[in-house]
């Protein structure tokens, strides 16, 4: 269970998050949608403690992780993994070393067991015998998959995905969507997926939340979001260039 309560965050006087409230029940997949630059990555980074809120909190199983010290945070992070927008693979290490990174650094698994675990994690994302390759030798879609393999290598309870389908072709995007669904079914993970790809959102979400001007302006099942009466939501999910989001003269209720 993840609860986000009244989360506020500004950078240099510019408000990015302006009171975000969200709840993600155990084992569910929440998709957060919103325009580029609206603060989706910033929100995710708060959930894994990379950023500290100005006010408000992020509760993972009742513990406010924004108040934890570095050592305590590391313990919580063992059960949370994040798939970064760009993959964020370490480019000086091989694919195998990337996937097994946490165990290589912290120990806790024998060499042969780790090798098997790395192989298994790569197989789960549909990649075989590429342990010895370097990230620079991989295509964009493969990098994203390896990043997912690294995230699932430790069998976390929570996975955060930052725009997993952005910048890959539609076919790879579909396979990444399937991958997220099957990981969710097989490993019973709680997932938060940030995206502006509506196809991906409908395909993986139990619930969808829309972030707009620093707040969650709509939250519900995919069907509820699809039939939302909020014109902002309608403009976004239908991808229209005219509407309340782009019309600067009208002021949305959530706007500051």
């Amino acid at each position: 269970m993840i609860e986000i309560k009244k989360l506020h965050k500004s950078f240099g006087g510019r408000k990015v998050l302006d009171g975000v409230d969200l709840q993600i029940p155990e084992g569910r997949t929440l998709v957060i949608i919103g325009r580029s630059g609206c603060g989706k990555s910033v929100l995710l980074k708060h959930i894994i403690g990379l950023l500290k809120p100005d006010s408000g909190g992020v509760f993972v199983d009742g513990v406010d992780i924004s108040r934890l010290k570095e050592e305590e945070l590391e313990r919580v992070r063992r059960s949370i993994e994040m798939v970064f927008q760009s993959g964020a693979l370490f480019d000086s290490l091989t694919v195998g070393e990337n996937v097994g990174f946490r165990y290589l650094e912290h120990g806790g698994m024998e060499k042969s067991a780790l090798k098997e675990r790395v192989r298994e994690s790569l197989a789960l994302v549909g990649l075989y015998s590429i342990e010895g390759m370097l990230p620079s030798e991989l295509s964009g879609g493969m990098k994203k998959r390896v990043a997912v393999a690294r995230a699932i290598c430790t069998r976390p309870r929570i996975i955060l995905y930052d725009e997993p389908t952005t910048g890959v072709d539609p076919i790879t995007a579909d396979s990444i969507n399937r991958l997220m669904r099957s990981l969710h079914d097989k490993l019973k993970v709680t997932s938060i997926v940030v995206t502006h790809d509506m196809k991906s959102a409908y395909s993986v979400a139990d619930r969808i939340a829309m972030l707009y001007e620093g707040r969650i302006i709509a939250e519900g099942t995919p069907a509820e979001i699809q039939h939302s009466v909020d014109p902002v939501v309608q403009q976004f999910i239908n991808g229209l260039s005219t509407g309340p989001i782009t019309d600067t003269s009208s002021v949305h209720s959530g706007a500051k």
């Binding site: 894994i48 990379l50 994040m82 964020a88 693979l89 990174f101």
Partner: protein, 261 residues
Amino acid sequence: MLRNKLSKIGAKVLAMLFFFGGLAILSGRAVRWTFLAPLKRGRVLEQARKAGVDSLPIVALISLFIGVIFTFQIAYLMQRLGSEMYIATIVALSLVRELGPVITALIVAGRVGAAITAEIGSMQVTEQIDALQTLSVSPIRYLVVPRLIALALMLPLLTLYADIIGIFGGYLICVYKLGISSTIYTKMTFDALLFKDLFTGLGKTIVFGMVIALVSCYEGFNVQGGSEGVGRATMKAVVTSFILIIATDCFSTALFYFIFP
């Protein structure tokens, strides 16, 4: 107008305080991690190779040139005074006490420091630093500590190497161009150098090495705004390292002057 100027100066001063504060925090953490966590030898050795061994050719080339140039200039003066005997003394002392340490440090700041900032900076913009943290690995321990140790160890060694080659450059000019005998040059060189000259000359380069490592890592971590930001940070890291090396040198030279008169 005046107000505008004052607020600009204020902003500059604030930025400087911010920089030194950040650098101090990074240094504290790096020192703490150095002693707290077991060191990964392989990682230090890799950095030592990159910083030390790979710098040997450029350090050799530049210090040979410096040795030659400096000897010519000294010879010009000494011939006017009729005391060519002392060329070797002056060359040895200046190289070991001052020129060797500073020139080696500046070369390393430009060559190794810039590479460190560019590498860490691109890791920052591609979220690899964030990824390290989510995988419970301290970026300070993983990236800063090996570079700090490697530079603190390699800079004195590189400096010693630069000293020797610089003195050899002086030898070439004196023996083959100015007709000073090889024995006299060698004798004057070794007679001139006291242990404290070598000790203070090499001692301060440990500090220079740490300054280069810390400034370069700090600028790398604080890159903002994509690859353009990486370029800007790299430039800033080199300029800041240059200034801090010269400032530290001035300070330590003055200090040693009073401690070891």
